[in-house]
Structure formats: C-alpha cells, structure tokens
C-alpha cells in the first residue's frame, strides 16, 4: 500500500512511503496519534482495508452471543455461533450484556469485529492497549490465525504492543519509515555470544609437560617467557612449554590484562606488585606470586605501561 505525503503549515507531517505487505503477513507501525489518524484516513477503500479505530464502540445492550450472531449474519458468514464462542473463549460471558462486561473484555469483544472482516487487509489501531494479559493472549492467537489468510497492519505508539504479534516493525516519523529489526538483532547477539564462547575455548592456553597437555585459564598465568626459542608459561612458580609464539599469545591474551613488557616476556598485569627502577634506564616488574619472580621491563614499554595503569 502506498501513502501520499501530507504537509501541515509547510511542515512535512507524513512522508511519502510504500509498504510492501506481501512479504510479511503482520506488520506494525509505531508512530504518534496524529500520524496514526493520517494513515487511517488514507485507507478509505472499503473493499481493500478493514480499519479498526481505537474509538470503536459496541452495541451495549446486546449479549455477547447476540452480538456474535449479528456479526455472523450481517457478514453472511457460515460459522456456527456456538463454535465461534468456544474459539473466542467467551463461553462464560455468553449471556452477559456487553455493557456489563469488564472493560478489558468489552474491548476484546469489540475487537472481534476484525475477525468477521472480508477485506484482505486488516488495519488495527492500538488493539492491545486496553486488554488485560489473558485477553491479549486470546486476541493475539486470533490475529495469528487471521494472518494466515490476511495481511495485518497494527498502528500503535507502543513498541511492546507492536512486538506482541508483528513480524516486522517500523517506526514512522517526519523523516520516513525506519525498519526496526528486532529479531535480527537478537540473532546478532546470539552469534556474538557464540563467538565469545569460541574465543574463550581458544584462549585457554595449552601447554605440554611430560607429554601431557595441560590447559590454563589466562588469569592463572603469572607471566610467559621466551627462552632459547621455546615458550615457557609460568604458573604458580612452575613452568610449562607452550607451542605458540609470543606474538600469537600477546594477541590472544590482550583482553585478559596481559602486557608485552619485553621482547621476550608477556606479563599478567593483575599479578604485578611493584615496578622496580634499577637505574634510570633499567626497570623490572615484581609479581605478587608465592615465589619471588621478577620480569624485566623494556624502557620503550614503560611509557605504554604507565598509560595502561594510569600512573
């Protein structure tokens, strides 16, 4: 469906846009009261659109059963009234007059008018606004069933209401129609989580000792040292051989608070107790592990470390 632009006092209220209903059986547009009305005013064609406005009221003096009988007859439907009442979950209210229903139930019964519409597209303004939890659930079920054959457009100013039963949600303002990709962002999050998990398993540091593979969590590691071409991972005063290079380890451990303090050393900054200044140009890091461990610190890395530690 296509909407024409509407101007008021030279300001663009409603931009021109087209809505492709074919791809999604049920859509929601989140916008303000004024634009909702402007949209509905453009859906005049009674053969195409059934427009349910929020101000819709009901024949107060009929009972629920009489009302549904009337709606079936006036739309020349073939449904059995008793079956419909079961489907609508209104068995207990069958003999109750509309005016005696609770306000949520009254709204729910009023909303049932859309069920009897013959138009291919149903447009509903704020359908869930006055409904209580249970009636919401029932009405969502009815809309879901309807959306198998018809296209449903929900106009609301409330994101949560739109999320109840819309496959695609748009936000409409003066600059146009913006898709709100809620489902996709959820999937993104899940993917991101998976990635994290993958990283964590990868970031276990695998070492070897006596032909056994031992895995360490990065926080356990005190420091890593390169000695005679082999990489030694120091944990709790013991050292273990690792197959990775220092550069690879540095990249993997960057997020765990590790720091390349020297060409041949990576240190776990969480375990650094003291920066020792030997001379003006020579420094070391003392770690707070059980054994007295000291790691050299390059002069060129000192500045970087100071920034990291906010000194």
């Amino acid at each position: 469906m296509q909407f024409q632009p509407i101007y008021s006092n030279g300001k663009l209220l409603l931009p021109k846009f087209e809505l492709n209903m074919a791809s999604n059986p049920s859509m929601g547009i989140i916008t303000d009261l004024k634009r909702k009305q402007l949209l509905m005013n453009q859906l005049e064609d009674h053969s195409q659109y059934y427009v349910f406005r929020a101000g819709q009221n009901e024949y107060m003096r009929l009972t629920v059963e009489e009302l549904i009988t009337f709606l079936v007859k006036v739309t020349e439907g073939n449904d059995r009234v008793a079956l419909l009442i079961d489907y609508f979950a209104l068995k207990d209210e069958r003999k109750v007059k509309i005016k005696d229903l609770s306000s949520s139930k009254r709204m729910y019964v009023t909303l049932l008018r859309v069920f009897f519409a013959h138009q291919p597209t149903l447009v509903l303004e704020e359908p869930y606004f006055y409904l209580e939890e249970e009636d919401r659930r029932h009405f969502k079920m009815i809309l879901d069933d309807l959306s198998k054959e018809k296209q449903i457009l929900i106009l609301t100013s409330n994101l949560e209401d739109a999320m109840i039963s819309c496959d695609a949600i748009y936000r409409l303002n003066e600059s146009g129609l913006h898709p709100l990709d809620i489902r996709d962002s959820e999937e993104d999050k899940q993917e991101a989580q998976k990635q994290d998990e993958a990283n964590i398993t990868l970031q276990k540091i695998s070492t070897k000792r006596n032909d056994k593979v031992i895995l360490f969590d990065p926080p356990e590691v005190d420091y890593i040292e390169s000695m005679d071409g082999s990489i030694l991972v120091h944990v709790g005063g013991e050292n273990y051989v690792c197959a990775l290079t220092l550069t690879e380890l540095e990249q993997r451990l960057l997020n765990f608070g590790f720091f390349r303090c020297h060409r041949s050393y990576i240190v776990n900054l969480q375990k650094v107790r003291e920066i020792i200044t030997w001379t003006k140009n020579s420094y070391s890091l003392r770690l707070n592990t059980g054994k007295d461990a000291v790691v050299p610190l390059s002069r060129s890395k000192l500045q970087e470390l100071k920034v990291l530690l906010n000194i």
């Binding site: 059934y50 819709q56 009221n57 107060m60 009929l62 007859k73 006036v74 739309t75 020349e76």
Partner: protein, 238 residues
C-alpha cells in the same frame, strides 16, 4: 447497490433488541396509547372529528421520528455505523433494517391507539394509506435528524424543531386570518391529515379524499429520496 434481506433482517433483529432494552426509547411506545385514552376521556371523539389527527401527528414525531433518529445517532455515537459500512451490508441494508423496525412498531402501536380511541374513518382505505405514507414520511425525517446529530442527545434535541414544524402546523390555521403567510402551513402533511380525518360522512367526493393523500404522498416521496441521498453522502464522509 445490492440489497440483501438476510442482512437487513439481521440489522432488524439487532435493532429490535437494542431498542426494546433501551427503556428511555421504548417508553415512547406507550405514548400514542396514553394520548388516545386521554383525548377520548376528554370527550373529543364525539365533538371534534379531526381530533384524532392530533394523536397521530404527535405520535408520528415522538415515536416514529424520534426512534429512527435515535437508532441512527446511537450507531454514529459508537462508531458502529462506520464499522457496519465495512461489512458487506450496504447503506440501504442498514436503512431498510432500521426503517422496517420503526415502521412495524409505529403501525402496530397506532392501530392499537386507533382502536382504543374508537375512531371510525369514513373511508378506511384512505385512512390506512394516509397513515402508512405518514409513517414512511416521518421515518425519513427521523433519518435526516439522525444524520445531522452526532450523539443520542443531539438526536433527542433535533426532534424539537420537527415537533414545531410538523405537529404544530395544524394550529397555524388560527393565525391565518392575521398573517396570510401562514396559509403555507396548510400544505404541511400534518395539516392535510387533519383535513382528511375531518371529512364528514355526508357528501364527500373522491377529490376531497385524494387531495390530502396526494400532498402527503408528494412529501413522502421527496423526503424519502432526500433522506436516502443524504444518508449515502453523509456516510461517505465518515
């Protein structure tokens, strides 16, 4: 525009239930009967042959016109009319369903009050024709009132000018001597009904009977057409 009896009947049944449970409206059903009994008790039946026309003229406005206006205004007030327009029911289905209800109610109640009043028309066919035409006429007036009112309250108030013009017209005859302009009121259907009912048993011609009937018929045709056209036009604006 197609007319479906099934849909019109559904609207008839729905409106009957709504009407009968709305006591502020359905109390109007006993108005013609009480009026007939009152006037009979006052002895008007024997002295003034045209006095039954007063019962009829007031009843037409307070029952027929009022009920129709309220039925339409109430649907407008609750936006159910707009919703009905989106069903397969056409404007004529709705109008026929409502008018039939009002027609049947008016006809039955007026028949009862005629019997209670003890009125015996000189020409039964002319009397019945005049009554039936008048009911259609006042239903059309009620439709127009309903279309121009947004709520039930508006509709109730819109009855007042109708009462003045239609029910009050026969009394305009008293002013004709001073203000000749009021001769116009003689052509209002209610005045013609008075003329028709005043015809004495001795020596009346077919022409005496036909003239009021034709004037009422003309009013009925014109107002019915106006109401249908207005109805369709107003509903398009909705």
């Amino acid at each position: 525009m197609s007319i479906s009896l099934k849909r019109a009947r559904a609207i008839f049944v729905k409106d009957y239930k709504e009407f009968s449970r709305n006591y502020a409206l359905s109390i109007m059903l006993i108005f013609p009967i009480i009026l007939a009994l009152l006037l009979r008790a006052a002895g008007a039946a024997s002295t003034l042959p045209g006095s039954f026309a007063t019962v009829l003229n007031l009843s037409f406005v307070f029952l027929t016109c009022f009920a129709q206006a309220c039925l339409i205004a109430e649907e407008k007030e609750r936006n159910t009319l707009r919703s009905l327009m989106m069903t397969p029911a056409t404007t004529l289905d709705v109008l026929i369903g409502k008018s039939t209800l009002v027609f049947v109610m008016s006809a039955v109640v007026l028949a009862i009050s005629t019997y209670l009043f003890g009125y015996e028309p000189e020409s039964i066919w002319a009397f019945v024709a005049a009554i039936l035409l008048s009911i259609i006429l006042y239903t059309a007036v009620g439709t127009i009132c309903g279309l121009f009112s947004k709520t039930l309250l508006d509709a109730s108030l819109s009855i007042i000018p109708v009462t003045i013009v239609f029910s009050g017209a026969p009394w305009g005859a008293f002013l004709v001597d001073d203000y000749p302009i009021f001769k116009v009121l003689d052509y209002v259907p209610s005045s013609q009904l008075v003329h028709l009912l005043s015809i004495q048993s001795a020596g009346f011609t077919i022409g005496d009977l036909l003239k009021p009937l034709l004037i009422i018929l003309a009013w009925t045709v014109v107002l019915t057409m106006v109401s249908v056209v207005l109805y369709q036009r107003r509903l398009k604006d909705e």
